[in-house]
């Protein structure tokens, strides 16, 4: 619902700008017909959605609160795809968070220390501010394993812009509903009044019909007379319109004056002003709070009256003076001191009446706008009505480019056991995760269980390439990775989306129960997300360099992470304490770390895709100390690994697509495969994107039994 506020705000601003132009035309150019069209355009702009976003570029910096609010409340990028709060989830999971703790400042803040506002905190009531950095770490020098407490994020209880927007939306909608009820009630009461107090007059009806035919109209409205002191008026639209004429006024005026006043009401009918009233009604309901609506109504009606006066002057048989006198006679009729209560038709608009009478006597008003003016207004309407400024996501700033593309991936087809072939659009490159764009089909023999997700193209923006998609074990959530470290967490069933791009996720891993998602980041922190609420539930600290790979143990009790300096850390997933660490003392960082199926060992692949240098693959049992259990010396730079065949073999894949099945007993390769580079990148990115499916893994031939 917050998109309503966003679009409403944008439309209100644009309409106000249009109103300025209409005001100039109406007041200074003295072209009431053109002014009428422009004011109607203003009302139309208030209602038309922004179909085409015009990027404002870097020169326009939306207020931070608005940017944060629309992101945290889940609003749009340039594609116009709305993003609402993904799921209300279980607020208990955020409510049950442990009390905030002070970050121990044992050491001065590291160079990475900075305040990071978690935009994706979705309980909506608080903005979570976390301070990141190297604070709080210490080492007891015990074989590289440190007893380090991981700190909880500190909460600052500022009211989030998302909450404000939500309340604004609620008040807006409530106001619109009340306004609509009020207007409908007034309509009903007036209709009831006419039904009770008004009576048809056949003679007058025939006379009006004759006047309409003379004026070139094919249809005349129904005519009713009332015995009250009211202004002649037209009420309603189309065939249901009624021309209301006070009987007492008709008795006071001569034929020419009566005809002039009737022609005026017929002018309204011929021009279709009733439909403009209907438009005003709709705009009033939606923008009940905007003074522009009332101002526009006033200007439209003033322009209408002047145009109708001109219409009458073209068709009446009397003189301009007689028409002006008829108007004054109607005014006298309305304003005479009564035996009756005074007419309560609002304050008299003397300036408007002066203007009308002046224009009548001078005959300077064109009934219709010129052809050029009509073309101009139509062109302006076509150009302006569908436009909206691209306030968000239009600049080149990477942290604000949150482009969300709805996916048409069939959630049923997704499972952790499947490999996703990504539709290629660009040339193939061989880079690390997030930079490659795949081409060509997979080269694995096996059933065609490769799913190709189709990304709809936006009319004005090319969608960023989806290169990896990790689905939780229960299939409920899906983490999508796109070029530029743009990451989106999707609630598959509800298709809710949470943009995590600002966190620059390097790697990710779901817990076995699918409740949590662990992500690794360049700031050396592992973040634990609550998938249900979309909020961060814990930060795992202890690493001194960027996290490059992360994996939940099969039992969900431990989380392992590899770092850019070749260390491996293991945390307890319940207490968030670091329980094991190994420093591999290698000249390369960890590229991929994976738990064995039994959860007792870790396969740690080292190496960097860019230098192509072959590095050893380390097997480490965290429960057995900080010494590697095995080292495999490979002749290829390993990108990703996968445990096979009851932990007796490893599928080791290099960045260039070459993969080997390695028998851990004989330390020899027993099979060779060729995989897609993007699959390797995806597998390195998350263990929930396995290199091959379980079916395919079972078919691989092992060299020998352990």
């Amino acid at each position: 619902m917050t998109w309503l506020v966003t679009y409403g705000f944008i439309n209100a601003v644009l309409a106000t700008l249009l109103a300025s132009a209409a005001l100039v035309v109406g007041r200074w150019c003295r072209r009431p017909a053109l002014a009428h069209l422009l004011w109607v355009l203003v009302l139309c702009k208030l209602l038309t959605p922004a179909l085409v976003k015009v990027p404002l570029g870097d020169w326009f910096d939306p207020p931070q609160w608005l940017s944060e609010a629309t992101v945290s409340s889940g609003n749009v990028g340039p594609g116009g795809h709305r993003l609402d709060r993904p799921w209300t989830g279980d607020s208990a999971s955020s409510d049950s968070q442990e009390p905030e703790e002070e970050f121990p400042q044992a050491n001065p803040p590291s160079k990475n220390a900075e305040a990071v506002v978690v935009h994706s905190e979705l309980d909506g009531d608080v903005a979570v501010a976390t301070t990141v950095g190297g604070a709080g770490t210490s080492s007891n020098g015990n074989n590289g394993v440190s007893n380090t407490r991981s700190e909880k994020p500190r909460r600052s209880f500022a009211i989030s812009p998302g909450l404000c927007l939500r309340w604004v939306s609620i008040v807006w909608v409530a106001g619109s509903l009340l306004t609509m009820l009020w207007l409908v009630r007034r309509l009903a009461r007036f209709g009831a009044y006419l039904n009770f107090a008004a009576r048809p007059d056949e003679r007058l009806q025939e006379h009006v019909a004759q006047l309409a035919r003379t004026a070139g109209m094919s249809y005349a409205p129904r005519v009713v007379v009332v015995d009250c002191v009211v202004s002649p008026m037209l009420w309603g639209v189309g065939r249901r319109a009624r021309l209301v004429f006070p009987s007492a006024l008709g008795q006071r005026l001569d034929a020419d004056a009566c005809n002039a006043l009737l022609l005026h009401e017929l002018a309204h009918y011929a021009r279709g002003d009733g439909w403009i009233r209907l438009l005003e009604l709709a705009v009033q309901v939606v923008y009940w709070w905007h003074p522009l609506v009332w101002w526009a109504r006033h200007e439209i009606e003033a322009a209408e009256e002047e145009c109708c006066d001109a219409w009458v002057l073209e068709r009446q048989t009397g003189t301009r003076r007689s028409y002006a006198e008829a108007l004054l006679a109607a005014i006298d009729f309305l304003c005479e001191p009564p035996p009756l209560p005074p007419v309560a038709c609002g304050l008299g608009d003397v300036p408007l009446l002066r203007r009308r009478l002046t224009l009548i006597m001078r005959g300077q008003v064109a009934v219709h706008p010129s052809r050029a003016a009509r073309v101009l207004v139509l062109g302006a309407a076509a150009a302006v009505l569908p436009l909206g400024p691209g306030l968000f996501g239009a600049s080149s700033r990477s942290d604000s480019a949150r482009i969300l593309v709805p996916s048409t991936i069939d959630p049923v087809a997704l499972s952790p056991q499947r490999i996703f072939e990504i539709e290629s659009a660009d040339e193939e490159t061989s880079g690390p995760a997030g930079t490659t764009v795949p081409t060509g089909p997979a080269s694995i023999d096996g059933p065609a269980d490769l799913i190709t997700p189709e990304l709809p193209a936006l009319p004005h923006l090319a969608p960023p390439s989806l290169w990896a998609s990790a689905t939780s074990p229960n299939g409920k959530y899906r983490l999508e990775a796109r070029a530029g470290r743009k990451t989106t967490l999707v609630h598959v069933a509800a298709d809710w989306r949470l943009d995590l791009s600002s966190h620059k996720i390097v790697c990710a891993s779901y817990s076995p129960d699918s409740q949590m998602l662990a992500t690794g980041h360049d700031d050396s922190i592992v973040r634990i997300w609550d998938c249900e609420t979309g909020g961060i539930s814990a930060l795992l600290r202890g690493s001194e360099s960027a996290i490059t790979s992360v994996a939940f143990a099969p039992d969900g009790r431990r989380i392992a992470a590899g770092t850019a300096n070749g260390d491996v850390h293991v945390w307890d997933s319940a207490t968030h304490d670091e329980i094991a660490r190994i420093q591999l003392q290698q000249p390369a960082g960890v590229s991929c770390i994976r738990w064995s199926n039994r959860g007792d060992r870790l396969a740690v692949a080292l190496g960097n895709w860019s230098d192509g240098e072959a590095m050893p693959l380390v097997i480490w049992a965290p429960d057995e100390g900080s010494v590697p259990a095995k080292e495999l010396f490979l002749d290829l730079p390993v990108g990703a690994v996968q445990w096979l065949a009851d932990d007796t073999a490893l599928l080791v894949a290099a960045w260039d697509g070459e993969a080997r099945v390695w028998n851990l007993s004989t330390n020899e390769p027993v099979d060779w495969l060729s995989l897609k580079k993007v699959a390797i990148s995806a597998a390195a990115w998350s263990p929930d994107c396995p290199l091959i499916s379980r079916w395919q893994a079972d078919r691989l031939v092992l060299g020998s039994e352990p």
Binding site: V237, L328, P339
Partner: protein
């Protein structure tokens, strides 16, 4: 100068209906007709309503007899006309009533305003004639 009658309430209208039907009635007769009884509080209520109606100029009290007799000072048609006019005034307010197009929204123009408009009209006609001669 008679005061302009104000809007009558439903209870006051009920009293007037009885007076229109009967022509005249005392307080007791009105109470018995309206409440099918004549308790002290009901009597006091009717008396209060009659005082209000008298203040609005809708009833007339004949003090020459005892007990006082009340008669309606306005006829049904006039009162209904007033109510309709008041309803029209409320409903025809152009800035609020949707789907309504007035000929003029004269509102509460004073006599001076209307006179000035006429004078302006005369001036414009004179100017028009002068330009026509030129």
């Amino acid at each position: 100068m008679p005061r302009s009658p104000q809007d009558v309430t439903e209870a006051e209208l009920a009293i007037l209906e009885v007076l229109w039907d009967r022509g005249s009635a005392t307080v007791r007769e009105l109470t018995e007709q309206l409440y099918a009884g004549c308790s002290a509080s009901q009597h006091a209520t009717v008396q209060k309503l009659l005082e209000r109606l008298e203040g609005k100029g809708c009833t007339f009290r004949d003090r020459s007899v005892w007990p006082h007799v009340f008669k309606a000072a306005v006829d049904r048609a006039s009162l209904i006309g007033r109510k309709l006019q008041q309803t029209a005034d409320r409903l025809c307010e152009g800035s609020i009533q949707p789907l309504l197009m007035h000929l003029v929204k004269a509102g509460k123009l004073s006599t001076a305003d209307r006179r000035s408009l006429r004078e302006m009209l005369d001036q414009l006609e004179k100017d028009g004639r002068k330009q026509g001669k030129k």
